[in-house]
Amino acid sequence: MSDFIGRLTGRKRKSAYQAKERLQLVLIHDRTNLSSTVLEKMKDEIIEVISRHIEIEPDTVSIELNKDGREQRLIADIPVLGPKKKR
């Protein structure tokens, strides 16, 4: 909310907040050595494997890295449409 008001009044977000946000992303990438390009490629490959067995909608799949203490977790959210239709 303060961010919204801040933008309305033309004030910049606090720099400490920006520092934290930027560090969050940088640290995850430093720790895993995974770039967003590799992550995208992995996502495509996962979609391909899963699509061989069940019906999914590729556009709804999300795969992201999350931080849990000093551990990194790869979280995949893949909505399932139904069983694979036999051709």
Binding site: K14, A16, Y17, K20, Q24, R31, R70
Partner: protein, 267 residues
């Protein structure tokens, strides 16, 4: 006695490793502990000047490792603080003059007769840093509330873990509460949240640190400075005492609130 070996490291240079090493050593010794500080920054020695012992160096760490003197001979006794010793780094050699196993050997020789060995690590993640953490029982990672220092600290924490020397403990140095309260400096809670390790000390920005290093007198010897007090608190925590973190919040005065109050209306 069986000394505990603590390595002070950071990744990034200039965050305060040497000052903290000198002051933790001084504080622990003034509490009756027997302490040896080792400067592991070979080629760029500085712990000697910060401790004010630069004029008394005869032998250094490399002389010990290469057998030109006995360990005892390279230990400079601090005359102001009973029980405090310094083993200086060599200035005219480089990091490869010492190996990780040399460091383990030196520390093992020191362990029986002392309570603490505190190693001042060089910046970086190369040989000098590897030397410094090899004998460590615990590692203290120093950072500043700044993106580059926090990022480097995270990298170091990961390496310390991978080397089975973890979990490291965190010292946040040079925090400026006025800037934190203004929203222009990452706060201690956010840093701890990002790095996800235990905190052992928060040291406020304090110009007395520069004054004391100008003089070569560790700031913990001067009872009145905030930074000195913060470092004394760390040493008490090292001795197992439960010491709460200092309250660093700054209460704005009435007049200041009146005149700057307009700026915070939009928060």
């Amino acid at each position: 006695m069986a000394a505990k070996v603590i390595t002070i490291t950071s990744g990034k240079g200039g965050v305060g490793k040497t000052t903290i090493t000198a002051n933790l050593g001084t504080a622990l010794a003034s509490m009756g502990q027997k302490v040896v500080c080792i400067d592991a920054d070979i080629g760029l020695r500085n712990l000697d000047v910060v401790m004010g012992l630069e004029n008394r160096i005869v032998y250094d760490l490399v002389d010990v490792v290469e057998g030109r003197c006995r360990l005892r001979q390279a230990m400079i006794r601090d005359k102001r603080t009973e029980g405090l010793f310094l083993i200086p780094a060599a200035q005219t050699r480089d990091k490869t003059a010492v190996s990780p196993s040399d460091m383990v050997r030196v520390c093992d020789e020191l362990r029986p007769e002392h309570d603490w060995v505190i190693i001042d690590s060089p910046a970086g993640i190369e040989r000098g840093f590897r030397n410094a953490i090899a004998p460590a029982d615990s590692v203290f990672v120093v950072t500043n509330p700044e993106v580059s220092a926090v990022r480097d600290a995270d990298r170091i924490i990961g390496i310390v873990e991978a080397e089975q020397k973890g979990p490291a403990q965190l010292i946040i140095n040079r925090i400026d509460m006025q800037m934190v309260q203004r929203g222009d400096m990452i706060g201690t809670e956010d840093i701890v949240d990002l790095l996800a390790i235990d905190l052992i000390g928060i040291i406020p920005e304090d110009e007395n640190v520069i004054i004391s290093t100008n003089r070569g007198t560790p700031i913990t010897l001067d009872g009145k400075s905030r930074a000195g007090e913060a470092m004394q608190n760390i040493s008490r925590r090292m001795l197992g005492e439960e010491v709460p973190f200092m309250d660093l919040t700054i209460q704005a005065g009435f007049l200041k609130k009146l005149f700057t109050g307009g700026g915070s209306k939009n928060e």
